[in-house]
């Protein structure tokens, strides 16, 4: 008789594993970034709208900052735009925009219409920098600490809930001083 109970026993074990799997499933939608707790890839790219100016990621060393990957072609980027503006207004950390595989004119028009949440915007026309950062879709938002390590990566539009739960919790309460107040003009471009 015993051996005929084996299958149902094995199945019961499987159900336990699957049940635990489901409980942990929500965290799986966050695809772990290979970059987590690794140095953020450095890059130098032209500034959006001013091709003769360049943006160098090294200029942010020693500060908490966010890299937001966006494009005017990305519908979900529009959805998170207001949230980005709110983040800028809160002045917690500067957002660097990585304008990905986009068109300069379209991107500038988008910012003129919807407002500019970014401190600086790097134009990644061919998507090379995005590849180094392991970006596979827009929008994505990375959090980088003063040591230059990637602390968190969020895939998909940034929402208020995600911002509070995943970003604010990781930022030190004292991060604010490193940031200029919202609404100040963009910093002068590095040469």
């Amino acid at each position: 008789m015993n051996r005929f109970i084996l299958p149902i026993g094995a199945f019961a074990l499987l159900v336990v594993v699957l049940a635990i799997g489901i409980q942990r499933a929500p965290s799986k939608s966050v695809i772990p970034s290979a970059l987590l707790n690794k140095p953020a890839p450095e890059f130098v790219l032209p500034e959006l709208g001013s091709p003769d100016l360049t943006f160098d990621s090294k200029s942010l060393a020693g500060r908490w900052w966010l890299l937001n990957v966006w494009g005017t072609w990305c519908a979900e980027c529009r959805a998170e735009h207001d949230m980005l503006l709110a983040v800028r207004a809160s002045g917690v950390a500067p957002i660097i925009g990585l304008n990905w595989k986009d068109d300069d004119a379209a991107a500038l028009e988008w910012l003129a219409q919807l407002g500019n949440p970014y401190e600086r915007i790097a134009a990644d026309r061919e998507g090379r920098v995005a590849i180094n950062w392991g970006v596979y879709g827009a929008p994505e938002t990375f959090l980088v600490n003063p040591a230059g390590l990637v602390v968190y990566k969020h895939v998909g539009p940034l929402t208020d809930e995600v911002w509070r739960r995943e970003f604010v919790s990781r930022l030190p309460p004292a991060a604010a001083p490193a940031v200029m107040p919202a609404g100040t003009p963009l910093a002068s471009p590095a040469s």
Partner: protein
């Protein structure tokens, strides 16, 4: 209006399937003949309603009804008509409706074919199928309703995932589901047999054709998916051991074991409890596959929207279906006793080893698929298991299985009389060794360790499969569909092993950066990048390259790889340029635009790759032919008719 009719029809279908289940199981149990008689009308009504539902959903797609959320998410006004229909099963909700509809088709077929079965048994089979249907309808309506409206309607749809805009992928899911659902029939037969306590050989004969046809559908479904991956994903591979691929492959392996053990149960009355267990297992793995794909538990390239609520529902459904049937098994199977014995080299014994090896193979795939989940559940961190694990561990049981197949086809029941066919086996083996040698030395050269083994085994199975039909033709004996089917399927298996060995050994591959006018050498071939032009399709634009392939300075083909940008989802798709030839595929895919009109180009020469899929289709064809054997249709209840040849079974 149509979506509401469809929605309503789906609810009615669910209620009717509940009646079908209740009357089918309670009727025979309580001996109420009038309840039992109500099962067939319930089946008819359920099928009619689910047909109305799927028809309404299809109509909403064809008519661009973007007020339906599911249509708005998966279609677009620029989408060509074929894909507007196939978009129906392009995502989770609609594919569930398709699943239920195919299950309805199988149920109606079973109901019509089971008139000759004992009424109580037929009612129980339909009752169990009704329970499966009910579970899926409830799942659809409770967590995944495709008929939800948008208010206000979307101005246009978000388009079907461009990866799915492809003819092979339009028919891949229906084939796959037909296979999964077909195993539900085998499952229902096994459950009915256990409920009824009718565990003699007859239920095995009733189940066999259904199981074989389901297996054939699944073979075609998997082959289509693999073919699509080869030319659409743009890196020229054809099997990735992705969790979702494994989810479809495990039921196939167990189904293969099942159709072989059913042969033993039908012919010799052995392996009875084992066959019951395999029937449960094949369908359980199909359900488990559904769970893994749609619950978000495993991360896979197959993107079904992950939703834990759905996962919990399917898990509960798994507990009811699998847990219930395994409990039934633990209760009923101990009553089974086999009296007959058999010798070591008899057909029974070969089929026993076939089953053992197939189950070991399934277990290795299962372990690799579940390992990331288990490691995560135990808090050991994220783990990923790839081809480095699957290829060698899967090969281990497969090599002896292939050798057994070549010999086992000729073993006779009960008595070990393989020695009588020793001459034929030695001859075919010598011939296959010569073929392997000739292929290595003559056509390709430079083998790896396993190459001669794979080639010889493949060729041996092919020749060995042909030996029996040839012999019969020579002696002017009748060829039954059973024999033709079995020979075809095994011939397909041999061709599969042979062609996979060639592909894996002799593929030449290079990634090169090319600008228009450049040349690159790949293997013995030269690729010449001639042109790069813009293209525009109905819902995309992009570039189209023209690459001429030369061998010894002579032009042997022109490839047109494309890089497409689909407008709505802004996703970039790679359409590989493939020149299909009898002996090899010449393949080129455009990778990244490197600027200055230079592109990275993936160039591959894959000999015999098309035979891999051809082999799968031959196997499936063999299954279908075997299932048409007369003895399944006539005299279902009586013993096998005297004219039937004893060895006329699909054996290994």
């Amino acid at each position: 209006m149509l979506p509401e009719i469809g929605h309503f029809a789906l609810i009615l279908a669910m209620l009717l399937s509940a009646l079908q289940c209740f009357f089918g199981i309670a009727g025979p149990a309580l001996g109420r003949e009038r309840w039992q008689a109500a099962v067939a009308p319930a089946v008819a009504g359920q099928f009619a309603m689910v047909t109305v539902a799927i028809g309404c959903l299809a109509a909403s797609f064809v008519n661009f009804d973007f007020s339906v959320a599911y249509v708005a998410q998966n279609s677009n006004s620029a989408l060509p008509t074929l894909y507007r229909v196939s978009a129906l099963w392009g995502a989770h909700e609609g594919s569930l409706v398709l699943w239920s509809w195919i299950l309805g088709c199988w149920t109606v077929a079973v109901a019509m074919a089971s008139r000759k079965l004992p009424a109580s048994f037929a009612a129980r089979v339909l009752g169990v199928l009704g329970l499966v249907s009910f579970g899926f309808f409830l799942f659809t309506l409770a967590t995944s309703n495709p008929f939800i409206r948008l208010d206000p309607p979307a101005p246009d749809g978000r388009d079907l995932n461009p990866l799915l805009q492809d003819p092979a992928l339009a028919i891949h899911p229906p084939m796959l589901y037909a296979g999964y659902v077909g195993f539900a029939v085998a499952f229902a037969f096994a459950c009915a047999a256990m409920l009824e306590g009718r565990l003699d050989q007859t239920w095995a004969r009733w189940t066999r054709p259904w199981t074989t046809v389901a297996w054939a559908f699944l073979s075609v479904g998997i082959a289509l998916g693999s073919w699509w991956a080869y030319y659409e994903l743009g890196w020229g591979g054809y099997w990735f051991w992705d969790p979702v691929e494994n989810a479809s492959f495990m039921p196939w392996l167990v189904g293969t074991a099942l159709i072989h053990s059913l042969a033993v149960t039908e012919k010799r009355g052995l392996f009875k409890s084992w066959t019951l267990l395999l029937s449960i297992l094949a369908f359980s793995l199909s359900l488990l596959g559904t769970f893994l794909v749609r619950s978000g538990v495993l991360v896979s390239v197959h993107s079904f929207a992950a939703d834990p609520a759905r996962g919990i529902f399917i898990l509960a459904f798994l507990v009811v279906m699998i847990g219930g049937s395994l409990t039934l098994y633990a209760w009923r199977a101990p009553l089974l006793k086999s009296k007959a014995g058999f010798e070591l080299t008899s057909r029974e014994s070969f089929l026993l080893f076939n089953n053992l090896l197939l189950i070991v193979a399934t277990a290795t795939v299962f372990a690799g698929t579940m390992a990331p989940l288990i490691s995560d559940a135990l808090g050991l961190g994220t783990l990923s298991v790839g081809p480095q694990y699957f290829n060698p561990t899967f090969l281990l049981p497969m090599l002896p299985l292939a050798a057994l197949a070549a010999v086992g086809m000729h073993a006779s029941w009960k008595k070990g009389r393989v020695s009588e066919r020793k001459g034929m086996l030695l001859t075919t083996f010598a011939m296959s060794a010569v073929i392997a040698l000739a292929m290595i030395l003559g056509a390709f050269g430079g083998p790896m360790l396993l190459t001669p083994v794979g080639l010889a085994l493949g060729a041996w199975i092919m020749l060995s499969a042909l030996a029996d039909p040839f012999d019969r033709l020579r002696r002017k004996l009748k060829l039954t569909p059973s024999i033709i089917g079995m020979s075809l399927a095994h011939f397909g298996l041999g061709l599969f092993i042979l062609s996979i060995t060639v592909v894996e050994t002799y593929t030449a591959e290079r990634d090169v950066a090319m600008a228009v006018g450049d040349r690159a050498t790949v293997g013995n071939f030269e690729y010449r990048f001639d042109k790069l032009d813009p293209v525009e399709g109905p819902n995309y634009d992009g570039v189209r390259g023209e690459i001429t392939v030369l061998q010894d300075g002579k032009k042997i083909g022109t490839l047109h790889p494309e890089k497409r940008q689909y407008w709505v989802q802004r996703s970039v798709m790679t359409e590989a340029g493939i020149d299909m030839q009898l002996t090899r595929d010449v393949f080129a895919a455009l990778g990244e635009d490197l600027g200055a009109r230079r592109w990275s180009v993936r160039a591959q020469i894959r000999p015999m790759i098309n035979y891999v899929w051809l082999a799968a289709f031959i196997m499936a064809l063999g299954g279908v032919v075997a299932a048409t054997d007369r003895r399944y249709r006539t005299a279902r209840e009586s013993a096998v008719e005297p004219g039937t040849v004893p060895s006329a079974v699909t054996g290994s």
